[in-house]
C-alpha cells in the first residue's frame, strides 16, 4: 500500500459538512443515482425520520457500521460477512432488499479502492452471492479503507440514506445528521436552527 493510501483523512473537530459530503462521495461515487434505501419518507418527514431511526438505524444499521469498521481494522473478513448476514436477518422485507440492491450496485460498479485486498475479496463474495452485501456494510468497508472516523462514516451513511429518500441538503443536515450523529462527529456543534420550539 502506498504512503498516500495509509495517510488518514483528516477529520476536523467542527464537523465540517463538506467533509461528510466528500466522505459520502468517496464511499459511494454513485450517490446521485441512489434511490430509496431503508429510509422512506411518507407523509410527515419528522415522523418518518424518527420511526426509521428507532426501528432501523439505531437498532441495526449503526451497529453494523461500527462492527464492520472494527473488523475491517483487524482484517476480519469472516466477521464482516457475519455482520452482513446478521444485518440481512434484521432488515426484513423491502428495506432489506433495497439495501442489498444498493450495496450490490456499489460493489459491481467499482473496483476495490486502492486495490484493497479485503474489499476485493468481499466484492467477489457479494457478486458470487456468498454474502448479502448490504449498503451499510459496503459503505463501512470502503470508509475503513479511507480511514474515516466512525462519526464521519455514520454521517456519510446518513447522507446517502437522506439523498436516496429525496431530502435536500438542509433537510439531511438538520433532520438526519445533526440529531443522529452530532455527538459522534463534533460534540453537538451542528446547528439545528431550522427547528424552532415553543418554550
Amino acid at each position: 500500500m502506498s504512503e498516500a493510501a495509509t495517510k488518514p483523512v483528516e477529520v476536523p473537530d467542527d464537523g465540517d459538512m463538506d467533509l461528510v459530503v466528500r466522505a459520502a462521495s468517496l464511499c459511494n461515487p454513485f450517490l446521485d443515482g441512489l434511490g430509496e434505501v431503508t429510509l422512506l419518507v411518507r407523509g410527515s418527514l419528522v415522523t418518518s425520520v424518527m420511526n426509521w431511526n428507532e426501528s432501523l438505524y439505531q437498532r441495526f444499521l449503526l451497529a453494523a457500521l461500527r462492527d464492520v469498521q472494527i473488523h475491517a481494522a483487524a482484517g476480519g473478513s469472516f466477521e464482516i460477512a457475519a455482520v452482513d448476514c446478521r444485518l440481512d436477518a434484521e432488515l426484513r422485507g423491502s428495506a432489506g432488499s433495497r439495501s442489498r440492491d444498493a450495496g450490490k450496485r456499489l460493489v459491481s460498479g467499482l473496483l476495490a479502492p486502492r486495490g484493497d485486498r479485503m474489499i476485493e475479496r468481499y466484492r467477489c463474495a457479494v457478486l458470487a452471492g456468498d454474502s448479502p452485501g448490504h449498503l451499510a456494510v459496503i459503505h463501512a468497508l470502503r470508509a475503513s479503507v479511507f480511514h474515516l472516523s466512525p462519526g464521519i462514516t455514520a454521517a456519510s451513511y446518513l447522507l446517502q440514506e437522506g439523498t436516496g429518500a429525496g431530502l435536500n441538503g438542509r433537510e439531511i443536515t438538520r433532520y438526519l445528521i445533526a440529531p443522529l450523529s452530532a455527538s459522534a462527529i463534533c460534540g453537538g456543534s451542528f446547528s439545528v436552527e431550522g427547528v424552532a420550539a415553543g418554550s
Binding site: G43, S44, L45, V46, M50, G188, V192, G194, A196, G198
Partner: protein
C-alpha cells in the same frame, strides 16, 4: 411559547383578503387526550393565515407551499422535542422549517386553563406561533420574543373577531 408578554394593544388589524399566497394546510390529530374542535380551529387559522403572511419578519421569508399541522399527545411531543432539540420535556409547539408544525395538545390545553381561555383558541395561537416562525419571527431573545408575541396575539384577536 410563553404568554408572559401582554400585547400592548389590540389594534383594529385589517382583515386581509388580498391575494397573498397562502399554503395548503394538512391537519391531523394524533392524540386522544384533549378533545379538539378541528373545524373551529381550522376556521380561526383560515382567517389568521392571510394576516400572518401579510407581514413576514423579512420579505425574504415565505411560507412553504404546504404546511402540516399535527396535534400530538404529551409523550409524542416530548420525544420529538428531545430528539431534535435535546430537551425531552413536553412542549406546546415545535416548528420545522420545511413546513411541519407539531402541537402538543395537552400542554396547550394546560396553557389554556392557565390563561383562562378556550382550548381551541390556544391551539390556534400555537399554530399562528408556528406560522410566524416559518415567516422568520423568532423568540430566542427578549426583544424578538416580545415582537413575536405581540404579533401573534394581534393576529389571534383579529382572526377571532372575523370568525365570531
Amino acid at each position: 411559547m410563553s404568554k408572559g408578554v401582554k400585547p400592548r394593544a389590540i389594534f383594529n388589524l385589517p382583515y386581509h383578503t388580498a391575494s397573498v399566497a397562502t399554503p395548503s394546510i394538512q391537519w391531523s390529530n394524533r392524540q386522544r387526550t384533549i378533545k379538539i374542535s378541528l373545524p373551529k380551529v381550522r376556521r380561526i387559522i383560515e382567517a389568521a393565515l392571510p394576516m400572518c403572511v401579510s407581514k413576514p419578519y423579512h420579505k425574504r421569508f415565505q411560507l412553504p407551499s404546504k404546511v402540516e399541522i399535527t396535534f400530538l399527545g404529551e409523550s409524542a411531543i416530548a420525544k420529538i422535542h428531545g430528539y431534535f432539540l435535546g430537551d425531552p420535556t413536553p412542549t406546546d409547539v415545535i416548528t420545522f422549517e420545511h413546513g411541519e408544525i407539531l402541537i402538543g395538545a395537552p400542554v396547550a390545553a394546560a396553557n389554556a386553563r392557565r390563561f383562562i381561555h378556550p382550548v381551541d383558541h390556544e391551539l390556534a395561537l400555537c399554530a399562528i406561533h408556528g406560522f410566524l416562525h416559518l415567516l422568520g419571527y423568532d423568540d430566542l431573545k427578549d426583544k424578538e420574543r416580545k415582537i413575536m408575541h405581540v404579533r401573534q396575539e394581534e393576529i389571534l384577536e383579529a382572526a377571532l373577531r372575523h370568525v365570531c
